[in-house]
Each structure stands twice: as C-alpha cells, then as structure tokens.
Amino acid sequence: MSHKVVVRNLKKSYGAVEAVRDVSFTIEAGEIFGLLGPNGAGKTTTLECLVGLRDADAGELEVCGLDVRKRPRDVKEKIGVALQSSALPDQITPREALKLFGSFYREQTEVSALLERFALVEKADARFATLSGGQRQRLALALAFVNKPELVLLDEPTTGLDPQSRRELHVEIERMKQEGHTVLLSTHYLEEAERLCDRIGIIVGGTIVATGAPHDLIAQSSSRQLVTVVTTPALDPATLAQLPGIDELKVQGTSARFRTTDATATLAALTQLLQSQRADLIDLQVRKSSLEDVFLRLTDTGDSTGQTV
C-alpha cells in the first residue's frame, strides 16, 4: 500500500538556527499520526514545509504520491489544513468564509453540510469577531474540509482552548478517523496524543527520536513500575536502597519514590521493613510506566521546560 505522507531527511534552517535537523516519518491511509514534542521542537516547521508554506532546505516530501516541492499547487488541492494563528477578517461570516475558500478548489463540499457537520449552523451568519474560541476552531476545521481532502493537517488544534472546547475537538478528530480520513496532527499535549493517535512521532530538537503506536512506545520504554510511598517517620534511604529490584530512588522528606523490576517482591520486603521500623504507612502507589515517562525520558536534555503535561 502506498503511503499518504512520506517525509525523508527533512532539513530546514532559519539563518543560523536549525529548526528541523533530520525528520523522517511516513503516514498510512486512514491513520491518525501525531507529531509530539515540546515547543520549539520543529513541529510547526515540519508541517509548514509539508503544506508548502516554506521551502525545505533538503529532504524528500511526498503527499498523496505527489512531490510537494515540485507540485505544490496539486498537493494543496488534496489537503486540508488548520494551522495555529490563522484568523479570518472580523466582518466575514462562517458561511461566507466557507463559500470563499471553497471557490479556491476544484472539488468542493456543500457549505450547508460543513456547517451542519461542525455545529456552526446557528452561527452561520454571525460575524467572525463574535465567535467564541471553540467556534473559531471549529470553523478552522470546517475550512480544512472544504475541498474533500485526502489528508488533513492540524497544527496544535487544541492549544489555547478551554477544556470543554478541547473535548469537543477530540470527539471531532475521532470522528474523522471513523470516517476514514488520514490525519496528521501536532500537539504538545501527551494525553491528546495518547488518546487520539494511532501512531506518534516524538520530535525533539528538530529530530524524530521515536516513532510508533503509543502503547508500543510505552512497552518498549520500560517494563518497570513506579512506586511512591509516604510514611511517618521517614524511612532511612540507605535501608530503602537495599530492597530487592529497586532503582532510581529519590527521597524527599517523608516521601520516597523509586522504580522496580519486580513489584511483588519489592512490596513484600517494604511491608516487612515498615513493621520492623514501626513506621506508619500514609500513602502507597504503584503505577505502570506511561507515555509521560517515555516522553520525559526522551526529551530530557537538561532543559525540558515548556511542555505541558
């Protein structure tokens, strides 16, 4: 089966700044692919090169079997895009905007169907300036669908939305998947990537550091569970460190946190230790490894500020 999207060794610099160093990934038809990474990792630049907004410095870019760098116009006919920070004039109405943008394409979707589909019927003739953030975002999505696109690209579609609108948008994206659309979305929200995407590519510092289905990434990343225990009085760190299977121990006041390769054995030993030390157990949590752990481990370059988790 042919790939919907092929990105191979993409490079893009702005002057001395290498925004994208080496990005490669493929997307299959009907897949939702997430580009996950902290701010400034190169997600937006990758997307902008892919939709023809920017000229790549090097690499191969193919969308729906067409070379993006050679046939940008034909690629644009086949894709629908909702980028960050693309607003419309204040005075335009959703109906007019959909009609106007539809007129730019060879193939068009009925405006009334789009209004219906994205719950904009009531606001169809309201000025853009009067729309809420969620309504504007739905209109941006509707605009991405005016040309019956084969591929939909969404750049951080939920950034800046309130939780209610974000949930609505998640439902919307899941619906795209059910309808068989191929979607490429970028996000810095982990739970969004985990919930919506069939596969994700984690991008850090302009490079893809891992690709795969979220659960595979988690499984590959670590089979070790994370244990958090709170006691009074505090347990002696040296004693704790001798528990079987324990690793990455961190003690902070009465709270200790560590990973284990064998939770059952570790917890049995921990219970004995508590009894012998006559310490009261306040809290105990055992958690499997999550995408967050994967992400933090992969993006831990000493400066992992900025990501919302």
């Binding site: 693309s86 419309l88 394409y105």
Partner: protein, 449 residues
C-alpha cells in the same frame, strides 16, 4: 477565475461592513468637499475649479491608506497565510484586492461628483476622458499603496508611511493648496510628486480641454503606477513574521524613487513646472499704439489738480480711516463689493480708463445716496484699483478723470453689485467721482488735502 471573482465580491462586501473603512473612504472625501466648498464659496461655479483636487484626495486616501491598511491588517491576522494554504495563486488574490479597491475609490469619486453637481457645479466637460484619467490616477496611487503595504510591518506603520506621502502632496504637492499660490521652490518640489499630475489631468477633464493621447500627466501617472505595481509584486509578503527590515530585495525601492525623479526631471526639462501667478497685476504685454491721451499725463498734471477737497469725515466724499470699523450689518455688502468688483460687467471692457471710471461710480453712488456704507466703499474700490493697475498708470488715469469730469456716462445704481444705493441725478455722481478721483491721487502720491 472562480476564486478570483469570489474574493473580489468578498473584499467589497467586507469593505462595506467595516465602519471605519466607510468613514475613511466616503465621509473623509465629503468633508474635504465641504471644506473646499466653504473655502471657495465665492467661485462663480461652486467646486468646478477644485474637482481635480477633490478627486485626487479621495483616490489618495483610498489607495495610500485604505488599501495598505486592509492588506497589512489581514496579513497580521494570518488571513494571507491561510490563503497560501489553498491552491489559489497569491497574485490573483492581490489582483482582486486591487480591483476591489478601484471600485471603492471610484464610488467615492462618483459620490463627490454627485454632491458637487447637487450644489450647483456644472457637469464635467469631458466625462469619458475624466473616467479614463480617474482610472489612471487610481492605478498610480494603488501601485503606491501596494508598496506602502509591503514596507509597513503593521497598521500604525501604514499610517506613518502614508502620511509621509499624503501630507507633502497635500500641502506643497499641489493637491490641496493651489500651485500658483505656492513659492517657486515648492512648485519645483511638487514636480517630483505624482499628486500634481493627477490634479492637472482631472482638472483638464472637468473644466478644460480634456487631454490628448500623449498627455504628459497621463504618462507620468502611468510610469509611477507601473513601477509601483512591479515593486509591490517584487516585495510581496504574505507572512506577518517576515519583517521589512529583514526582507531581501529592498533595492527594489530604487525603481520607485527613480520613476518619481525621472518624472520630475522630465517635467522640469519641458518647462512645465512653474505656474504664472495670475493674481498679480498684468502689465500690458505689447506696447499699445497709439498711446491713449491719459498716458501722456505727467506728475505735474497730478500736482496741478485742485486739492481743496471736502474732509474725509464729512458727508460729501467721506472716506473711513484705518481706525474706523463698519457696523456688522453693512459688512456683507462690503464683502459683496470686494468680491464682485473684478467680475462686475461695467468694470470689464477693453478700455482701462472706462473701467477705472466705472469703479469710481461704485464709490460715488453710495456717497451721493448717503447710505451707511458710503464711508467704507471708497476704500474697497481704491484697494481693487491698486491691485489691478500699475501705480503710475492708475495715477495718470485718475488725474485724467479728475480733470475731465464731464466725460463718461454715470451709472446710477449699484444694486447689481449687491450694494444697496441708487440716485437720480447723474451730475451728483459726476461731482463725487471728481472728488474721489482727486482723493485717490492724493493718497497714491502722498499729497495732502
């Protein structure tokens, strides 16, 4: 093409929804029109001589402020970035924006024309030529507007840049202030701005001779418009993050500069820059042969007049001094005289002596009729005569009139000048004409009486 048409309609629709744009696009030109109407209220045909200026101001406003403001604010909001994600060619969207702007300035111009006709301006002499000239003026200024839009990073920058071009053109570029009232250096400067060519060619179409196909103004506007569009296209930016300061190809601004300078230099070379001042006295160009009898008079003849005259403050031949002010209610009549005198039919005619004598009747009739304006009209008349004739000639003519009191056929009423005064006795008028003629000579030659 379908996208182009939709975008054109959408641009126009959005324009007419934008209250600020309407204010700038239509109210502003009408305010200018009103101001000109008031300023030049005494013109025989209201606004006729100023339609060129008014239309130019409208186009300038719409093209150098309206167009770049729309383009830059859309770019700042990411609208142009969004367009880039569609297969529509950017050039075709710019083209529809430009055409929409042309319609907008055209409607503003038609509105001005309509209002001007409504207040009594006669219809333009050459309406079709006017349409062509207007289109070319719009083309030149819209090209300029595109360049401003590409140079400005945000809307305040549009305002600043626009004013840099708008204000000089208005004030010393011949757009709002008539060129003939500007000093010579300013007239030279104006040759390097497109405004005056716009005003000239529009003016010719409204009230003059239209234009010939190889009109210099049209050529100048065409050159400036073509370079504007060319450079606007070369510098085009759709992304608000591309700042002008970091933009490559700024050298493209030189063609614009070169075009403006070339037009100015060509105008100077053709010797068409300086406008003769028609308000100053015109000295007879060719010597009149034979000289009229009064021209042979000398200062001795003036000296020989009888300066035993009634005093200025009396009831015979009074003349208000500089410290005397007329009553408010007579002022309008004096204004009428001041404005109408140069156009007043008996004050025209081939013979200057007759014209001066007729002007003196205007002073003499109110005096003879003893109306409240009598002390003030003579001053107005003397002022008019001084502005119209060289002093030497004037003294000679007044001396002749004073010493030939029986000549001429006195008028007996000044009501067609808007000055309420009438008498029955022509002899009375002749007598007062004599007195005023001598008094004027005395004042002009600093002779006591």
């Amino acid at each position: 093409m379908k996208g182009w048409w939709h975008h054109l309609r959408s641009s126009l629709r959005l324009h007419f929804r934008n209250r600020m744009a309407l204010l700038y696009g239509y109210l502003f030109p009408l305010i200018f029109l009103g101001a000109f109407w008031v300023l030049y209220r005494h013109d025989k045909y209201p606004l006729l001589r100023h339609m060129g200026e008014l239309l130019t101001v409208s186009v300038l406003g719409g093209a150098c402020f309206g167009l770049p403001t729309t383009l830059v604010s859309e770019r700042e909001r990411g609208v142009w970035r969004r367009y880039r994600l569609t297969p529509a060619a950017t050039a075709s969207l710019v083209a529809s924006t430009v055409v929409a702007r042309y319609f907008i300035v055209l409607t503003a111009g038609l509105l001005q024309l309509g209002v001007a006709l409504g207040v009594g301006m006669p219809a333009p002499e050459h309406p079709w030529a006017l349409a062509v000239a207007f289109t070319l003026v719009a083309f030149a200024f819209i090209g300029l507007g595109l360049v401003i839009a590409m140079m400005a990073d945000n809307v305040p920058a549009v305002q600043a840049l626009g004013q840099c071009i708008f204000l000089p053109m208005l004030i010393i570029g011949g757009v709002a202030v008539p060129l003939e009232s500007l000093p010579v250096w300013a007239q030279h400067v104006s040759a390097f701005f497109p405004g005056r060519y716009a005003v000239e060619v529009l003016h010719q179409c409204v009230t003059g001779t239209g234009f010939s196909p190889l009109n210099f103004d049209l050529l100048a506007l065409g050159v400036i418009g073509v370079t504007g569009f060319l450079v606007g296209a070369k510098l085009f930016r759709w992304d608000a993050q591309q700042h002008f300061s970091r933009q490559r190809g700024k050298a493209w601004l030189f063609p614009i500069l070169a075009a403006w300078i070339a037009v100015g230099v060509a105008a100077e070379a053709r010797n068409r820059v300086i406008i003769p001042d028609t308000t100053k006295p015109v000295v007879a160009a060719a010597p009149v042969v034979p000289l009229p009898p009064w021209a042979h008079l000398t200062s001795k003849d003036a000296e020989a007049l009888d300066y035993d005259l009634p005093p200025d403050v009396g009831i015979v031949a009074p003349m208000a001094g500089p410290d005397q002010l007329p009553d408010e209610w007579v002022k309008p009549q004096l204004d009428n005289v001041r404005i109408m005198l140069p156009y007043w039919v008996p004050s025209k005619g081939p013979d200057p002596l007759t014209r001066v004598r007729h002007a003196l009747y205007v002073a003499a009739v109110p005096d003879a009729a003893q109306v409240p304006t009598e002390a003030f009209v003579p001053g107005v008349v003397l002022n008019y005569l001084q502005l119209t004739y060289p002093k030497d000639d004037l003294v000679k003519m007044l001396t002749w009139i004073a010493s030939h009191p029986d000549e001429g056929n006195p008028i007996l009423s000044t009501s067609d000048l808007g000055l309420k005064a009438a008498v029955r006795d022509p002899m009375l008028v002749k007598e007062r004409v004599h007195y005023y003629a001598v008094k004027f000579v005395a004042k002009l030659t600093n002779h006591a009486y």
